[in-house]
């Protein structure tokens, strides 16, 4: 057996309880191997618990451990960094807890906050800087306006009021209030980013979140306004188009404008 074959077999054995160990191994080798197998699972489940502390509280320890173990089987880690072990865990949670989507939504927030925490540093644009950058813009340039956003900024729609949910899971007190929180009457947008050195999130209306997501993936300001008109009608869309740009600047989400 080559070293490559031996190492592939060793790793397969860590991933699966029923993997066959080499026949010539005695009790001592098998006992030693069990230490590596147990350490693998414990380390990775601990890593997920560290990334997803509030999600773990909301799901409950037993359910969270089972979900984490399931995720490690379906998504065994491939990256050099342990931080990536939780990649796509929110999708696993969505599949495992289809009737409790707040668990997956909270998981998405915690993952996005971890990503934002170590995203590249960037200087942000404030209102005076935008005014200066667009001073020479004509009507066409405003329509063509494109924005670059801070690294790590993430957007999605959620069905629960995550701003209310978050503090209910932060301490040692009962989480009954968190479990009883009713879904929103309509979906809202959740935005995660890093302000200074700390990750944070806020909620915005669904149309604003959709406009932001569109511009994040390359749509220009005219495209975003058209989307808002489609979602809200002309008058409310025009109002939102103006206020949202100011909010994005004030929150520190925009790094650059171009036309």
């Amino acid at each position: 057996m080559t070293l490559a074959e031996q190492q592939s077999g060793f790793i397969q054995g860590l991933l699966a309880n029923d993997a066959l160990l080499p026949e010539h191994w005695q009790a001592r080798e098998r006992a030693g191997y069990e230490i590596y197998r147990n350490a693998y699972r414990a380390r990775l489940i601990d890593a997920l618990r560290e990334t997803y502390p509030r999600t773990a509280r909301l799901a409950g320890e037993e359910a969270f451990q089972a979900a984490a173990a399931h995720h490690l089987i379906t998504h065994p880690p491939a990256s050099w960094t342990l931080d990536d072990a939780g990649l796509h865990f929110d999708r696993t949670l969505e599949a495992l807890f289809p009737r409790d989507l707040d668990v997956a939504e909270l998981g998405w927030i915690e993952w996005a906050m971890q990503v934002a925490f170590t995203a590249a540093d960037a200087d942000t644009l404030d209102r005076p800087a935008l005014t200066a950058a667009t001073a020479a813009f004509g009507a066409q340039a405003w329509q063509d306006l494109r924005l670059a956003f801070v690294p790590g900024l993430a957007v999605r729609l959620v069905e629960h009021d995550c701003l209310r949910l978050w503090p209910l899971l932060g301490g040692d007190e009962s989480i009954d209030a968190a479990r009883e929180l009713a879904p929103l009457s309509e979906a809202q947008g959740c935005i995660v980013w890093r302000g200074g050195l700390c990750s944070t999130f806020t909620m915005v209306s669904a149309p604003e979140a959709r406009a932001l997501a569109a511009m994040q993936t390359g749509a220009n300001y005219a495209d975003a306004c058209e989307l808002l008109v489609h979602l809200l009608g002309e008058e409310p869309a025009l109002q939102l188009a103006g206020t949202m740009l100011a909010r994005w600047l004030d929150q520190g989400w925009i790094t650059r404008v171009s036309a």
Binding site: S8, I11, E29, Y40
Partner: protein
């Protein structure tokens, strides 16, 4: 490949609970060691903390994901990121472990044991040469704790490690707790282990606590035991000047407790130096 000068200092691992201590004032250490992977990121707080700490202390980069013993080769993207961090921090040195962590598809995030065979020796020497070439510096390689000894072994761990150092020009990070743990687990003599290594290539020494048992576990969650202090004294008498530090990764106590342990290490080193001068 450049030479690494000895650095005879005393240090601690930089761990999150102690960030305020290190950021807030003078901590009585000569260097800190950081886990490289925790700082191989694009930006944010980790790098801001490390930059600040680097202004006050020498820093050693200690990795856990190089996987030099991997038959599937080194991860060049990983090494490129590690080099960027080393260029930014200008560390005393960069170290990792005599182990492997991943196959072609999966990463165990554990320091897995190698069979000490001629094939494994060729693999790790090739990988170390590539890594040192990309990093443009010699590495320090640390002896691991292990819980499994392969029936296929063709040489002892110290013979294997010595051969890697000889062939690749790497230096050694001597973990005396790991020697203690593995000697217990595999029934070899810690003295034979020390006697079999090219100790003049040791640039750093690790101390840590472990969980005793039929199979001892390298848990880094408690104080250094008496047997490991004895081994430190023996090692320091033979290595010459080296950087000594205490690793604590779990049940992390207040910084003052670790500084008190480090004072024990200083005292032992001073005794060794006095004996050598006498």
């Amino acid at each position: 490949m450049t030479h690494i000068e000895p650095f005879a200092g005393f240090g601690l691992g930089l761990r999150r609970p102690h960030y305020p201590d290190f950021l807030g004032g003078d901590v009585d250490v000569d260097f800190v060691e950081v886990i490289s992977e925790n700082f191989m990121v694009d930006g944010g707080k980790p790098l801001a903390v490390l930059d600040t700490v680097r202004c006050r202390h020498e820093v050693a980069l200690h990795g856990v994901s190089l996987s030099p013993g991997s038959a599937h080769g080194v991860d060049r993207d990983y090494l490129t990121r590690l080099k960027a961090l080393a260029d930014r921090i200008e560390p005393l040195w960069v170290s990792d472990h005599l182990c492997w962590t991943r196959s072609s598809a999966h990463n165990s995030h554990d320091l897995l044991p190698l069979p000490y065979t001629a094939e494994a020796l060729d693999v790790i020497c090739t990988n170390m040469m590539i890594a040192q070439d990309i990093l443009q510096r010699p590495l320090l390689l640390e002896n691991p704790s292990s819980y499994l000894s392969f029936p296929e072994n063709e040489m002892t761990e110290w013979e294997f490690l010595s051969e890697v150092a000889q062939r690749t020009g790497c230096y050694l990070l001597l973990d005396v707790n790991n020697i203690y743990v593995s000697a217990h687990n595999h029934g070899f003599s810690a003295h034979d282990y020390l006697g079999g290594l090219p100790l003049e290539r040791v640039r750093q020494i690790h101390l840590a606590g472990h969980t005793p048992g039929e199979i001892a576990i390298d848990t880094h969650d408690r104080a250094v035991c008496a047997g490991v202090w004895d081994l430190l004294e023996l090692a320091l008498a033979r290595t010459g000047p080296a950087a000594v530090m205490i690793e604590r990764d779990d049940a992390i106590p207040p910084l003052a407790d670790l500084l008190a342990e480090l004072a024990t290490a200083r005292s032992i080193a001073a005794g060794v130096n006095r004996a050598a001068a006498a």
